[in-house]
Symmetry: C2
Subunit: 308 residues, 2 copies
Amino acid sequence: MSKILVFGHQNPDTDAIGAAIAFSHLQNQLGKETEAVALGTPNEETQYALDYFKLSAPRVVQSAKEEATQVMLVDHNEFQQSISDIAEVEILAVVDHHRIANFETANPLYYRAEPVGCTSTIILKLYKENQVELPKEIAGIMLSAILSDTLLFKSPTCTSEDEAAAKELATIAGVDLTSYGLDMLKAGTNLSDKSAATLLDLDAKSFPMGEANVRIAQVNTVDLSEVMARQTELEEAMTEEMAKNGYDLFVLVVTNILDSDSELLVAGQGLDKVEEAFQVKLTNNRALLKGVVSRKKQVVPQLTAVFN
Amino acid sequence: MSKILVFGHQNPDTDAIGAAIAFSHLQNQLGKETEAVALGTPNEETQYALDYFKLSAPRVVQSAKEEATQVMLVDHNEFQQSISDIAEVEILAVVDHHRIANFETANPLYYRAEPVGCTSTIILKLYKENQVELPKEIAGIMLSAILSDTLLFKSPTCTSEDEAAAKELATIAGVDLTSYGLDMLKAGTNLSDKSAATLLDLDAKSFPMGEANVRIAQVNTVDLSEVMARQTELEEAMTEEMAKNGYDLFVLVVTNILDSDSELLVAGQGLDKVEEAFQVKLTNNRALLKGVVSRKKQVVPQLTAVFN
């Protein structure tokens, strides 16, 4: 029998990679034959965390059915965010913390979603429920995932369960939570050597909203003005991506991880809907959103509500 | 704030009612304000169980939004099996053991599905995980749900977890599992005083399959020939239901709970697909399926595969 593939979403972030590693290890301890893989190479933040805890980056795969008949998903469920041939394999399990949409199976499955800040917080519970010991390096990558998803507990998606899990994982991993977390987040804000196209693809997801196909990318920075100095170049790349992939609206969320604010840069159709969703006036296609750091909680639902 | 409504699927069976009662009680113990309701009156099997354990039947509701903004679903997720205005309220939680399809939310939620035979088996885990004490009468209705869904452990959907949960619940409820279970199942097989239309609606669900809208009803009996003696009347009622509700195909599964076999009676378009799905030849629109007792595992996936 072929191995069961375990993976997170396209354009993987630290939770997509870390949760895949952690959930695959758990399943293997429980007697399944699984392999953690990824739908892309790690970003610089994730690579920092993998290096720190001496873990290898999961093998990148483009197709599931060529090598497996069964898969397990972490940190996502929407098919358009998953592997290209997701509809052609059996989904045995999902562990996630997002809304459920554009997802279906032919058979009953294991599905565990909780409205917490990070998939890895749920996976820590699963280790405990199954009484499986958590290796130090896996605790480390799970901790990294929580710090990344919650922006060091500053995101409104962060719950008390995420904070408690991170503290527990930091003890197992043997690191100081705050200093490690800041170093890791900063490792992901080195944007200057990246092309505009690369930057737009670092952490981008597509969402069907009403009749529209909306692309929402997010980048973290410690200096908003440094990113916005590249506005023309970014807008050209956004327009190109829209034409190539049939997006109707492209929303780039540039988040200052120190101040916990975000600036939007938008292109395409429905700019009036963006203004309505966030109760702002776009100036030069931009708007500052004070206190907004979470795409999932502070961007997607607001836009979805206006489009529906 | 209005109460959160907790309910199972339309045409409720013992698990839909029992899981709603049990999950609502658990949530209330955890500090939420919920009420177990139902999308229909209990069938005779469920009423037998409610009476036995001195529980009231949940209030029947037709609409959610008139009295609540938030709901929790048990024993189903597909919108066409849920309350009519499900898309207009927020789904906070789902506990289920079915495939996932035609389901979506705007926000992250608690979703707990496991591929076991009965929702109540999962809910017993939730009581334990949350260390909430299980009252005797609620253990009784949960036990009833497991015995009903697994046909006294004979269904292929039944797992070792369901059996273990039932034994544990029988001890709490203080009943003999086998004799209580048989009495309860038999209470649900009194079909003679029911009109054909009522019989078709006792435990019926709709499934979109490919382009077709398929209705699959199941009734339990201790005598297949007694039900099939009413074939003409049943076929007339099936044709009427199809015309009224836009079903393309109507499949009635008549299950002998003593022999664990089922006989199909079908009407509508796609009879060739039924033959292909079950590798049988229909005679007079009927076919005997040896060893088939589970709609979820032995009927729906087989039909879905042929329609897709």
